[in-house]
Symmetry: C2
Subunit: 215 residues, 2 copies
DNA sequence: TTCTTCGCTTTTGTCAGACAATCGGGTTGT
DNA sequence: ACAACCCGATTGTCTGACAAAAGCGAAGAA
């Protein structure tokens, strides 16, 4: 089914098996996944709408590249939306959602301590899923999901930076604490701080590598 | 070409020729537009990704319906994003963009005075295009475009409410004035106020009609 | 009568094959 | 060395085909 094709392609892009700028030839995808061109093309259109790939007329789709400025814009709007989500969560989230959030935070902290890579990613997405869910706004949820997918185009989760992970855990605990306290303003500030820190690390790294690319 | 099919369908939905909840049968679309099923299906997937239509497995796509709560959420996030766009525009927009914005406002005021329906819509979209353009953030632009498209699913632009139009013109002038003054906070407040007013009118109307539906 | 169950029709989801249009690169000629 | 040209590769689209599933109506049982 096409959603499975979508997921496979999405994962292939997120995991870096398809690198930004790489061309995606229909026929190759057909035989590599073992599915007809119809399904491939429809899945590609979906990913294109999500911004993960970019299609050029008669040249086909390529994995989207993201410039330094676009990355900065991405983190800006992500901070905006996640702050909003945190605030709404704190002010209007259900007790059940808060409970789930704290569990996700605990799991994330544990994963960070034990150092498991894939487990860490899973825990982080669980946390964000819960945060978006708790916001109670389906549009915010959709938009943040799309943004999160695109962040992976930057090819380095800011978590991989040494020392960043511990800070990240602390910041996330701060977010959960503010939400548990039903303190909307504090939750928003904590979310914004978290994203701004991640943005700083990511953009510094990006600037460094883009300088290398410029050589 | 499929972008033309997309535009046709989008327009058919926005103009209300396809009403929310209505089923979209592939074969009918094929013969009504005069294009193969391939193009239709790809266009439908695009619209689905934009949220204009919703597909149910083996039952096909229908024009998306939007509940009262979703409408409230839509206006909330729209206020958030447009405030941000206004603030960024005021603080970082180019003089050229500001000039274009003021021209769009003037055209909108003129269209409102002369009462031309389609001209009014065109002027309003021009204003918003300019506002989003001036924000300098491609993600905000994409998201707001998507939200604007979905607002039309509510089937009554809040502008059509009597008396609302004049207020709308004033509010938009306020936005442009704040941006021209390079006053970011004021621009954001003006944008938020504008959307909040539109939301109030739209949601009141929605509540009224949904009560009628409930009878 | 009303509820359940069965089968039929419609529509989707997917595939394979075909063909024109177009893009990029390599070749050829000067 | 440079320009024009031609050719292979790829996309965009159409057609026809078929299984699978959903909805509907009719038939049958309680």
């Amino acid at each position: 089914m096409r959603t499975q094709v979508e997921d496979k392609l999405r994962q292939a892009i997120s995991s870096g098996r398809f690198k930004p700028g790489q061309r995606l030839v229909e026929r190759e995808l057909c035989e590599s996944i073992g599915v007809g061109r119809t399904s491939i093309r429809e899945a590609l259109r979906q990913l294109e709408a999500e911004g993960l790939i970019t299609s050029y007329p008669h040249r086909g789709p390529v994995v989207s590249t993201i410039t330094y400025e676009e990355a900065a814009q991405l983190y800006s709007v992500r901070a905006l939306l996640e702050s909003y989500a945190g605030k709404e969560f704190a002010e209007n989230g259900t007790a059940q959602d808060i409970h789930t959030l704290n569990e996700a935070v605990a799991e994330f902290a544990e994963a960070a301590a034990s150092g498991g890579g894939s487990r860490l990613i899973k825990a982080k997405t669980a946390f964000y899923d819960c945060l978006m869910q708790g916001s109670g706004n389906v549009f915010v949820k959709q938009m943040l999901t799309s943004l999160h997918n695109r962040v992976t185009l930057l090819r380095m989760t800011s978590m991989t930076q040494p020392g960043r992970l511990n800070h990240s855990v602390e910041e996330i605990k701060e977010i959960a604490a503010a939400i548990t306290d039903r303190n909307g303003a504090k939750a928003a500030a904590a979310c914004k701080y978290h994203i701004d820190m991640a943005a700083k690390v990511a953009l510094d790294y990006l600037r460094k590598t883009s300088e290398n690319d410029g050589d």
